[in-house]
């Protein structure tokens, strides 16, 4: 079985701080990580590999430094890594991103395509389903459980909603978008780290894939950003450790101080 996992390298938003004076994001020294939903998707793919045997290929579109995220995936146990990197791909919205990734996927054998639900720096949740549409694959989003059927021709997945879930059997080939809570991704192994650098991360540019240039990069992105702004920094707040009665009294006092009540 061939599994392709699409991943994105993102800034670790849990580490992002806001400069209290300028009100802007402090980007310096923020580590880059594999997007958490994607990492759980990778773990799910590696579990299928452990269980039933599979070749796991990781695919990412990004700048050259995204190679590190792919090395990490190799060190966790992925077999092959491909980085789509070209200036022409830059500035892509979800449409252009999914067009580019889909073009790469046409070149790769795939019985199962695994994506994360959404990236923590964009939160759109559109790229996975769009890839499925480009490729004409059935897809299931918001997957929290994944099981391969014994004959290996379909998977049973649990699709989560706010108020319930569906259990869905879906024939391969298909595309799934995974939730980060579906598993606890394994660590890299020490041997895996050394192996990952013995392997090649293939870099594909525009010339390596068959895609309409009108559908890629900034020019191929129908999304237009009207305005972007940073939410104002909030003060740290104050913690009181008191019983509920005392707590209610304090809240009322503070609200009065601020003339809210």
């Amino acid at each position: 079985m061939n599994i392709v996992v699409c991943m994105k390298q993102v800034p670790d938003t849990t580490e992002v701080r806001i400069d209290p004076i300028t009100g802007t994001l402090v980007r310096e020294g923020i580590p880059s990580i594999i997007n958490p939903d994607d990492k759980s998707g990778l773990e799910a793919a590696l579990e299928l590999k452990d269980e039933a045997g599979a070749k796991v290929t990781v695919l990412s579109m990004g700048p050259p430094q995204a190679e590190l995220a792919l090395r990490e995936a190799l060190a966790m146990g992925a077999d092959e890594a491909i980085l789509l990197s070209d200036r022409a791909f830059g500035g892509a919205d979800t449409w252009a991103t999914s067009s580019t990734l889909a073009a790469a996927l046409r070149k790769l054998p795939h019985d199962l395509v695994v994506c994360g639900r959404q990236a923590i720096d964009g939160d759109t949740a559109q790229v996975g389903p769009q890839i499925a549409e480009h490729l004409g694959l059935p897809h299931v989003s918001y997957v929290s459980e994944l099981r391969l059927e014994p004959e290996g021709k379909s998977v049973v997945v649990r699709r989560v909603f706010e108020d319930g879930y569906h259990m869905i059997r879906v024939k391969l080939p298909c595309l799934l978008t995974c939730l980060k809570d579906m598993n606890k991704p394994r660590y890299m192994s020490v041997g895996g780290v050394f192996d990952s650098y013995a392997k090649e991360v293939k870099v594909w540019s525009l010339a390596d894939i068959d895609v309409d240039p009108a559908n890629i990069g900034l020019k191929g992105s129908p999304t237009r950003v009207k305005q972007s702004f940073t939410k104002g920094a909030k003060s740290a707040g104050k913690v009181y450790e008191v019983d509920p009665k005392e707590g209610a009294k304090i809240i009322v006092e503070r609200l009065k101080e601020k003339f809210i009540i």
């Binding site: 660590y187 020490v190 050394f194």
Partner: protein
Amino acid sequence: MDFSFDREHQLLSQLYRDFAENEVKPLAKDVDETESFPVETVRKMARFGMMGIPFPKEYGGAGGDNLAYIMAVEALSKVCGTTGVILSAHTSLCAAPIWEFGTEEQKRNYLRGLASGEKLGAFGLTEPNAGTDAAGQQTTAELKGDHYLLNGSKLFITNAGYADVYIVFAMTDRGKGTKGISAFILEKGMAGFSIGKKEAKMGIRGSSTCELIFENVKVPAANLLGKEGGGFGIAMKTLDGGRIGIAAQALGLAQGAIDETVAYVKERKQFGKALAQFQNTQFQLADMQARTDAARLLVYRAACSKDAKLPYSVEAATAKLFASETAMEVTTKAVQLHGGYGYTREYPVERMMRDAKITEIYEGTSEVQRMVISAAMLK
């Protein structure tokens, strides 16, 4: 001269940090207080290839190097001194001498299990009357045809009881002094080999430190490590490597105490401002970090010298001397900066201070390191 990690080691430091934060740190307080050996953690370390970092893949290792190994000891010790020394004793003192001095058969039989982490290792040199004076061995090994008969005891043995494989030193020829010492590979469960009293310790309380007792233990002649009479050399070379591991443990403890202190002084307020705003705090922290960085360079230099197959005995002694004394000084200052809270078990710095003390003592005291360093200077 390049002071930055290459790409492999950068990725490794990410792995070690994540593993230490998520798997080791949450248990550290309990491991110390209940003196419980972290069996499950060791199993997880094995799963991710940490029990045989510097050994080749064909022998079950991760195919890494000594720098990669001591970085792991450092990262684990930053959050738990106990876990750091378990890895150090296993790797440096048991697996390493088998890798370095073992026969092909010994490597297949023992190194593979140790490096893959299926088995845990220990090292028995110290005796009640042979500590720093390692030549005063009372344990004897008598050749009886195809086996040796071991009698005697060992003291303060790290990982004892939990370890499956033990490197044990014994006198094969009393008349020859240090040239009469030989090294043997023993297995848990050999008839006559038992674990004695467990020590109650000041620090690294989750690590198991016990007596080993040998009563007519039949050790196959094939388990002689190196040549008969070559044991003292094996012990000294093994300890040279071990010292880099302990220096890394000390380094981790120092950095761990600094990290805890930095977080604390930003939060804790006295006289209307955070402790971090007082110049005394700032200067103390600067001194702590400067010393720790210096220790780090010495520790990495020793590990890189070993990797480059250069002499590293003096480098290892220098690293251990400086890193362990740094750990003691830095953890003591960390407790002081925490004030009364630092003395309580609510905060980890008192544990780090207790853990740090042993690094000045085991695998060669600071005094022994000074002897090694000065002997090289004055020869």
